[in-house]
Amino acid sequence: MILYIVRRVIMLFPILLLISIVSFIVIELPPGDWVSNYITNLRNSGIELQEEEAARLTAMYGFDQPSYVRYAKWMQGIVTKGDFGWSFQWGKPVNDILRERLPFTILISFSALILSWLIAIPVGIYSATHPYSITDYIATILAFVWVATPGFLLAFVAAWLVFHYTGFSPLGLNSTDFLDAPWNTAKLIDRIKHLILPIVIIGLSGTGATIRVMRANLLDELKKQYVTTARSKGVPELTILFKYPVRIAFNPLFSTIGWLLPAIISGEVIISVVLSIPTMGPTLLRATLAQDMYLVGSIVLILSSLTVLGTLISDIYLAWADPRIRFEGTGK
């Protein structure tokens, strides 16, 4: 088991390395380097820039050196000082921008993941144990429609419905009255009210697929011989269901973190844009529109690393849950 974890953690490094390289490629992708773009922009907007000044800027960001040196510098900054670079658009370090937004991204994504399971697991179990019942059909069709609806559309319609029927505008993190208000209970309640909608929508967008995974796995497990064996021992149906197949069907469900997490992060990005919640999403969008590439690259790097770490945790859980892996290397 420990061996497995060690191996799995070691395998993490090449993937993180790959992520960082890809993120850096993204930074370098726009034609022309951004320092020269920046200089051109400055000049276009009428600011006189001396040649030396331009050269100094170029040298400062290492654009007089080959790209792998710049990559090494960027990585060095991240690994040694946790410094992700400089955002042009904001005129401040990338770190300062992310520090305010990352916690919300994590909070919303994590809550959404939990919510999506809280709904998907019971519905999936019911669907699988009552296949082809009306409830199963409704759950299946709803799951299909959820899967097919783009997240932003869902957010749009939901926000509009909420606004239309309650008069409460779910946009942003706080209502305008509270924006500059000091922290108090009312502001906290207002904040929570604003967080509910994005969490529900992001959570639900993952729910459809999760229900289908749970249902399919459970249907598979219910057909297995060991279920018949348990039945032949006279074990009551409900005990059979929860002791054996549900427990085993949980594992593939857990392994769906591998793709559920990327999907939830993607969902968080787009839904935050629609609901204008100041998380990584809108920041990324504005940065991409402005080609503020260090910020873009850093966000891609961080979000990808987050999902990879999430997958690692789910893999370790899976290994622990499976006696065939758990006892590898210890005893027989």
Partner: protein
């Protein structure tokens, strides 16, 4: 072994195992007209089973209709996407009547509208002029357009003709353009990008998955890690970042292909995984070993023996991969990172309506979104039906 032999082989296995397999028989859709079944070719089997899947069958028909619209948007829609109707900005969907003022029943028709601005609410009020009916006609002459860029014609599938009032079945946008026509024209990009994107993913996926699954070793290891990596990163931020690198001044065609490539960069990994997994499993199958023992060469084994064994799986995976591309394009264009106006796609149309206020006042602006949902649903249903049908013998 040919496809026929292969299917009859499995059919015999089936016939010989129903006892222990009784619990499994419900899975199997043994055809009662068994003689035909035993000797049917793989494709026939799949088609028979697919036809029995009613939802998938209906979805397939609807998909074909959607694609016919996408192929001939000029013919299918009554107007050109850029035609503006003065005085009809933000107009709600035109009402279609079948009963006139006096209770007489007619084929569907519309009335001309007149518009007034309510001085208090600053909202437009539309009144129907019931003095004249304008019937909706089929194959009507309207605005001229170029059919497939080949010849000019002015026939449209339906409309009220040039002299009639504007027929805005899905309403109009703030420039007075017909949303229905724009949605139909938009399907050209939105629906084709799914296909083209998946085709590209398919080539990358099959090539790399094939190399990985067939040769194994270091190549397999590297490609596997790459797939793991691509599957583990969140697609949307990555797409956004790549789209951000795309120059804004590119032509529609250039942007189109750039987006296709961006979507495929991640999209191929899922397909490659399927191909590799299938190849690995099939390579160990008895009939592949038998072919090897009989002295068949590697390419012969791959193309003649292995490939027929999983083309059906590939098609299923392809069908199920298309919705991802459609959603990807829509999302990117909605964010303003994908297709740019004047190009029309469903995402661009939805992006036009980005403001909550717009949606609140003109809910019909969301209709293109409905098309996205329906198209994706249809693909999923067809894919599901195909998956059930493609595996006639699998347990």
């Amino acid at each position: 072994m040919t496809v026929q032999e292969q299917s009859s082989r499995t059919a015999q296995e089936l016939a010989g195992q129903p006892d222990e397999g009784l619990a499994a028989i419900p899975e199997e859709k043994l055809d009662v007209r068994s003689e035909r079944f035993y000797y049917a070719k793989q494709w026939e089997l799949i088609w028979w089973r697919f036809r029995r899947h009613r939802l998938a069958m209906i979805s397939l028909v609807l998909l074909i209709i959607l694609y016919l619209i996408a192929i001939m948007p000029g013919f299918a829609s009554p107007y050109l996407p850029q035609s503006r109707f003065e005085g009809r900005q933000q107009s709600p969907p035109t009402k279609v009547h079948m009963i006139d003022e006096n209770g007489g029943i007619h084929l569907p028709f519309v009335y001309a509208l007149s518009r007034e601005l309510d001085q208090k609410t600053f909202k437009y009020i539309y009144t129907e002029d019931t003095s004249q009916r304008y019937p909706i006609k089929l194959f009507v002459k309207g605005e001229p357009y170029k059919f497939w860029g080949l010849f000019e014609t002015s026939r449209h599938l339906f409309g009220v003709g040039v002299d009639g009032p504007p027929l805005l079945l899905f309403g109009a946008d703030e420039l007075g353009r017909d949303i229905l026509s724009r949605t139909f024209y938009g399907s050209r990009i939105s629906l084709s990008i799914g296909f083209v994107g998946v085709l590209l993913s398919f080539f990358i996926g099959v090539t790399l998955g094939g190399i990985s699954g067939y040769f194994g070793g270091i190549a397999d290891e590297i490609i596997q890690r790459l797939i793991d990596f691509l599957l583990s990163i969140p697609a949307l931020p990555f797409w956004m970042a790549l789209a951000a690198a795309m120059p804004r001044d590119w032509s529609v065609t250039k942007t189109y292909f750039a987006i296709t490539i961006i979507l495929s960069i991640i999209g191929w990994s899922g397909l490659a995984r399927v191909v590799r997994g299938k190849l690995l499993a099939l390579r160990e199958e008895d009939y592949a070993l038998a072919a090897q023992a009989a002295g068949a060469g590697q390419p012969r084994i791959i193309f003649r023996h292995l490939l027929p064994g999983f083309t059906s799986h590939l098609i299923v995976s392809l069908t199920l991969a298309i919705p991802g591309s459609i959603l990807g394009e829509t999302t990117l264009s909605f964010l303003g990172l994908g297709m740019q106006p004047p190009a029309v796609s469903w995402g661009v149309l939805l992006g036009d309506a980005q403001d909550m206020v717009v949606v609140a006042q003109q809910p019909w602006r969301m209709i293109p979104g409905l098309f996205v949902v329906i198209a994706v649903l249809l693909f999923n249903f067809v894919g599901d039906g195909l998956r059930d049908a493609a595996d006639p013998y699998a347990m």
